[in-house]
């Protein structure tokens, strides 16, 4: 599927959606107006109007829920539609916000009209909210299931791809090394160095050719595999078996051993990585967050000067309520990066000495690096 086509389709859809939204808005306004005029009328009329309004609101909510469910279903159908989905989600969010605002306005008006029936209204609102929450939860569960389903076959493909890339890389590296070695020899470099380089090149070349002979399916384990095994073993020995969600070698990222910690154990794991004598990851190289739409993620890159080894620690957070322990007690250098993650993604770090909006200022609305961010400008 070509990018341009995608874009055009997206645009068309967005236009349509905008139109629909405008129409809905107009209708709503009209309705509101009639309601306002009715509000002045006697009590019986008011009752009728209220019932009507309630029915309308219900219908709207149902329609919204339906739409949402449909969208999510569509989303699970093919990955290529991700962009579309995003746009849809955004539109849905906007529509929701609008509906909420409308409902609020209505509620206010009604309150002004007659206070005796407040309780009923409240009840209705509660029921509505409950229904909405239910629908949301159901949709989320559905989406999750669909996603899980989707990921399993894909993972294999990705893995194979990554492996192929790794093999190609190993080959390339071997070639480069061999070339370098040859050159060094020509120039008459130091004998010992030369021999060493040659040996390395030979080994690498061997590895490379092996990878080429048995393509894709069988690639020799990464040089960092023993390190990863060691980290996992030591962590499990000291902290128990259930502190890590996952651990793997990230082939795309120079084979860095990657640990995925659980939200509850994240701080403990990082603390252990820093202070354990065998591991000694004493340098915080990088900390940032990523919004994956299904969840938030904090990515931490640590380095051990003692062992000359890197490790990446990741933790998945709930997207609606992303909170995690701060690493500031371990490294003073985690201070600003955590502020940045808070500012741009809305991740809250507990026990942070001074969590503030470091880049954008305290009056900024929203967190721009979130995928559903809508720019807010008072002048527009």
């Amino acid at each position: 599927m070509s990018g341009e086509k995608d874009l055009e389709q997206l645009k068309k859809e967005a236009a349509e959606k905008a139109k629909a939204a405008a129409l809905a808005k107009k209708k709503a306004r009209e309705q509101q107006e009639t309601e306002v005029s009715e509000a002045v009328a006697p009590a019986e009329d008011e009752d009728l109007a209220k019932k009507k309004a309630a029915a309308a609101a219900k219908a709207k909510a149902a329609a919204l829920a339906k739409k949402k469910a449909e969208e999510q279903q569509a989303g699970s159908e093919s990955e290529d539609r991700e962009d579309e989905d995003l746009a849809k989600k955004k539109a849905a969010a906007a529509a929701k916000a609008k509906a909420a605002a409308l409902a609020k306005k209505k509620a206010e008006e009604q309150q002004a009209g007659s206070e005796s029936e407040d309780r009923e209204d409240e009840d209705l609102a509660k029921k509505k909210a409950a229904a909405a929450a239910k629908a949301k939860a159901a949709a989320a569960a559905k989406a999750k299931a669909a996603r899980a389903k989707q990921e399993s076959p894909e993972a294999v493909g990705d893995d194979a791809k990554a492996k192929a890339i790794a093999a190609a890389k190993a080959k390339a590296a071997a070639a480069a090394k061999a070339k370098a070695a040859a050159k060094a020899k020509q120039e008459g470099g130091e004998a010992s160095d030369d021999a060493k380089a040659k040996a390395i090149a030979a080994a690498k070349a061997k590895a490379g050719s092996k990878g080429a002979e048995a393509p894709v399916a069988e690639v020799k384990p990464s040089v960092n595999q023993p390190y990863l095994d060691k980290y996992v073993k030591v962590i499990e020995e000291h902290l128990g078996n259930d502190v890590l969600e996952d651990s793997y070698i990230n082939r795309l990222s120079k084979d860095v051993p990657t640990l995925v910690a659980k939200r509850e154990t994240y701080y403990k794991v990082v603390q252990f990585l820093k202070y354990n004598e065998q591991l000694g990851f004493d340098y915080l190289s990088e900390l940032h967050g990523v919004d994956y739409e299904t969840h938030m993620e904090v990515y931490v890159h640590l380095y051990s000067y003692k062992n000359s080894q890197s490790v990446a620690v990741k933790v998945k957070l709930d997207r609606d309520e992303p909170t995690i322990e701060s690493l500031c007690p371990l490294w003073a250098g985690a201070n600003w990066p955590e502020c940045e993650a808070y500012d741009l993604l809305g991740i809250k770090f507990l026990n942070h000495p001074n969590l503030h909006r470091i880049m954008l200022g305290e009056d900024w609305v929203g967190h721009p690096l979130r995928k559903d961010y809508e720019p807010y400008d008072v002048e527009v």
């Binding site: 790794a166 190289s285 940032h288």
Partner: protein
């Protein structure tokens, strides 16, 4: 009787010594700084957000504007990240051109730092000398890339253009000239007693502090930490060159000054070897697809910029734009230690300490 009162003093956002837009809120008691609170973000342009709608090649010009004093290293880090993900092997000649461009950039960056640092301390003329040589470097890079500061020279898989004819010879001629000038700089400033009185023994921190605050580059090496990503985690072709990692033990402002000067010399060494080994001919860009799509997954790479460890994180969902792009910007991390360094210092040392951190505000704010 004399009575002193705590007072708030704003340094910046517009202050000549910050060389950008940076604000320091100082709580001072007489001339002693009680507390310093840096305020940043004035130059935040949302590069990472913008990048989510751009193709990889389109992002490269944005990196020029982060650390605009050594844009070549920024160019390199994003190309390197994408190449790492895609498994692209860069042609030899391109690698040499890249390394030469980066090392020239490092020299020019340290020159600019030196000139402005001593300017802030009151020595006005060294700036002119520093800019004289920096101008020569900028001319070289201009010939190479067509721009003096925002080069946009590197591409995923290589570089945009081959060097013009005779360019390598010009670099070769430049090296001894620069060596001679460095001696002159030392004569001019380094031994000067007034200068030494202003920089020696202030802004001190230990190796543990440096690691605790995630410092990198000369700010880390001035505490005796022999650590340079070019040496310890060689990327590109740095494993082919014979060079040293200069360190100092003191951890004060003067030690950072010395480390940077020694780094100029080491960069010249690397340049010399580059010129010698430069391949006669060959392609300057690898065979890469027209539309670059990084495979699904994530990668984090880090390289050594003049200011320290610059990193690039890419999370990709297999499209032509990155899903999330993040730069680990060394100035941003290095600046964190400033409040600690300033606490209890005399206000007259402020400029020297701030200057020695060597920040570029475009990079701090991202």
């Amino acid at each position: 009787m004399l009575r002193t009162e705590e007072m708030l003093l704003n340094v910046g956002p517009q202050h000549p010594s910050t060389h950008g837009v940076f604000r320091l809120i100082l709580k001072i008691d007489g001339e002693t700084i009680k507390e310093a609170k840096p305020v940043i973000g004035y130059l935040h342009r949302g590069t990472e957000k913008l990048a989510e709608d751009l193709q990889y090649t389109q992002i490269i010009p944005y990196t020029d504007r982060m650390d605009y004093v050594s844009a070549m290293t920024n160019n390199y880090v994003i190309c390197h990240a994408v190449e790492t993900m895609m498994g692209i092997e860069v042609p030899e000649r391109a690698e040499y051109l890249r390394v030469m461009a980066m090392e020239l950039g490092r020299v020019s960056s340290h020159l600019l730092w030196w000139g402005t640092f001593v300017l802030d301390l009151g020595a006005t003329s060294p700036l002119l000398y520093a800019f004289r040589e920096r101008e020569m470097i900028l001319n070289l890079l201009n010939e190479l890339s067509g721009a003096r500061l925002t080069f946009n020279y590197m591409r995923v898989g290589g570089v945009k253009w081959d060097a013009p004819e005779g360019w390598v010879d010009k670099v070769r001629d430049f090296i001894p000239h620069m060596r001679e000038q460095v001696k002159g700089y030392h004569d001019l400033v380094t031994g000067n007693e007034i200068f030494l009185n202003r920089v020696k023994g202030i802004g001190k921190y230990s190796k543990e502090d440096a690691l605790n605050y995630s410092l990198s580059g000369p700010n880390l090496r001035c505490t005796g930490m022999k650590w340079d990503l070019r040496k310890n985690e060689p990327y590109s072709i740095y494993d082919r060159f014979d060079f040293d990692v200069p360190t100092r033990e003191e951890g004060d402002v003067l030690s950072r000054y010395h480390v940077r000067f020694a780094e100029i010399e080491e960069s010249l060494k690397i340049l010399e070897q580059c010129v010698e080994q430069f391949p006669e001919e060959g392609p300057v860009i690898a065979k890469v697809p027209k539309i670059i799509k990084a495979p699904k997954g994530e990668a984090f790479v880090r390289i050594e910029s003049p200011r320290g460890e610059i990193g690039c994180y890419i999370a990709s969902d297999g499209k032509k734009e990155p899903y999330r792009l993040k730069f680990r910007r060394p100035s941003f991390y290095n600046l964190q230690i400033l409040p600690k360094l300033l606490e209890g210092e005399s206000i007259s040392n402020l400029i020297a300490i701030l200057g020695a951190v060597d920040i570029i505000l475009g990079e701090v704010d991202g």
